[in-house]
């Protein structure tokens, strides 16, 4: 879902190589996922040894955005880019549907239930029976619409009797 433009030849670095490198950058609140898995990269514009990255912020109050922007810059400079611009992609609204399949698997392995794909049409009912990441049961109840970070809700599994968190659909 990343739009890429390579504007001059010969290409110093391909978009795939850049995305690969950006897998090293994480949101500290969800260390299991890279910003690529989260779908935070809106657009890459590669122009010889210069690059512009458009970042899509997740939650509006995400405290890590400046830190992420800085990490992206550092990582791309490390790759040898001369001029690196990291800008806010204000044309695209981030939704949890942007999380990749790989990202969903990583969330699950991290113990956080991935959000259902819903294109923004989720309802209260879809939060009421979220699958438990520990035992796979869907005999669960919603405990709170909120959790330990902005992106999480809190649930209880009746099967394995554990509290767990889920990445909430937005």
């Amino acid at each position: 879902m990343v739009t890429t433009h390579t504007l001059s030849d010969p290409t110093f670095m391909t978009a795939d190589q850049v995305l690969q490198a950006l897998h090293d950058v994480h949101d500290p609140e969800i260390p299991a996922l890279s910003i690529v898995d989260l779908g935070m990269i809106g657009e890459l514009i590669i122009q010889g040894e210069n690059i512009t990255v458009k970042l899509i912020p997740t939650f509006i109050a995400c405290p890590a955005l400046d830190w992420i922007r800085h990490q992206v810059k550092e990582r791309l400079k490390q790759m040898g880019f001369r001029k690196v611009e990291v800008v806010h992609d204000d044309q695209t609204v981030w939704t949890s549907d942007r999380i990749s399949e790989e990202g969903r698997r990583k969330l699950q392995a991290f113990g956080l239930t991935p959000p259902a794909r819903n294109c923004g049409r989720w309802t209260e009912a879809s939060l009421a029976a979220v699958t438990c990441p520990h035992c796979g049961s869907s005999n669960t109840v919603l405990r709170s619409f909120f959790g330990s970070t902005l992106c999480r809700s809190t649930h209880y599994c009746n099967q394995c009797r554990q509290v767990f968190e889920s990445f909430k659909p937005v």
């Binding site: 509006i60 109050a61 995400c62 609204v93 939704t95 959790g147 809190t154 937005v170």
Partner: protein, 250 residues
């Protein structure tokens, strides 16, 4: 003032002030889950305010967002009285949150169609988050209203107190007609009508009732810079924290 600036200022100020009121529950919530919920919503709302102040900064050459939030004087704020009131007991906080966030979600639903593109984009984004605020308010209201006699009576008392103040959410801006004509915002009157429908429907289902309107001016003035005595002390507190660490990032 530019009509769009005045609109965005009031939206930002409501979120900013209510966000800080919510944050006062951190560490004091009646149960841990409520503590976390109030703190999360506080963080969301202050984030929404800063995003709106950023639009003022970037599109209209206003000061930087921190300066707008922390260094204006009381008269320059455009928040409504409802958000200024102290938290009181948990039931008042909850009823206020219920009344305010239903209006907030409907407001951004209307603003998605705004001809002012930065606001329409912000509206599309903020709705996903506000939906959780509304669901939280509804589920707690329902639980307490249908709980026991005491919890029902306390909610009713807070509703009787807060409902007249909520009229201030919809106090018309001096540029109301222009905003509507230019398609920036569909207007406070339409919003209030939609809101009342949502509120009435829920309140009835929970066997609560809305008080009769008695004081026609209750809750009004905030949009013109006339505030309750509760706002200035809150601003003093925010400003002193901000000045003590002026270069810290928020």
């Amino acid at each position: 003032m530019n009509p769009i600036v005045e609109l965005i200022t009031k939206l930002g100020d409501d979120a900013f002030i209510l966000g800080h009121r919510h944050s006062e529950w951190t560490g004091l919530g009646p149960i841990l889950e409520e503590d976390i919920a109030m703190s999360s919503m506080a963080q969301d709302k202050i984030g929404h305010a800063l995003a709106l102040y950023t639009i003022l900064h970037e599109q209209f050459g206003g000061p930087d967002p921190d300066t707008i939030g922390f260094l204006r004087n009381e008269k320059e704020f455009r928040c409504c009285h409802l958000v200024e009131y102290p938290n009181g007991e948990y039931d008042f906080t909850l009823v206020r949150h219920f009344l305010f966030d239903h209006a907030e979600l409907l407001r951004y639903q209307l603003l998605r169609q705004s001809t002012f593109a930065p606001l329409a984009r912000f509206a599309a984004k903020v709705m996903g988050e506000l939906k959780y605020h509304v669901l939280h308010a509804d589920s707690l209201m329902q639980r307490l209203a249908l709980g026991n006699e005491e919890s029902h009576a306390r909610l009713q008392a807070s509703l009787t107190e807060a409902f007249p103040l909520a009229a201030g959410i919809f106090e018309k801006s001096p540029y109301e007609d222009q905003l509507i004509a230019e398609g920036v915002f569909a207007g406070e009157a339409l919003l209030q009508q939609q809101w009342l429908k949502e509120i009435e429907q829920r309140v009835q289902a929970w066997d609560l009732h809305l008080p009769e309107a008695r004081e026609p001016l209750a809750g009004l003035g905030g949009r013109y810079g006339y505030h309750t005595p509760y706002l200035q002390p809150l601003l003093d507190e925010l400003t002193s924290v901000f000045r003590s660490e002026e270069n810290a990032s928020w």
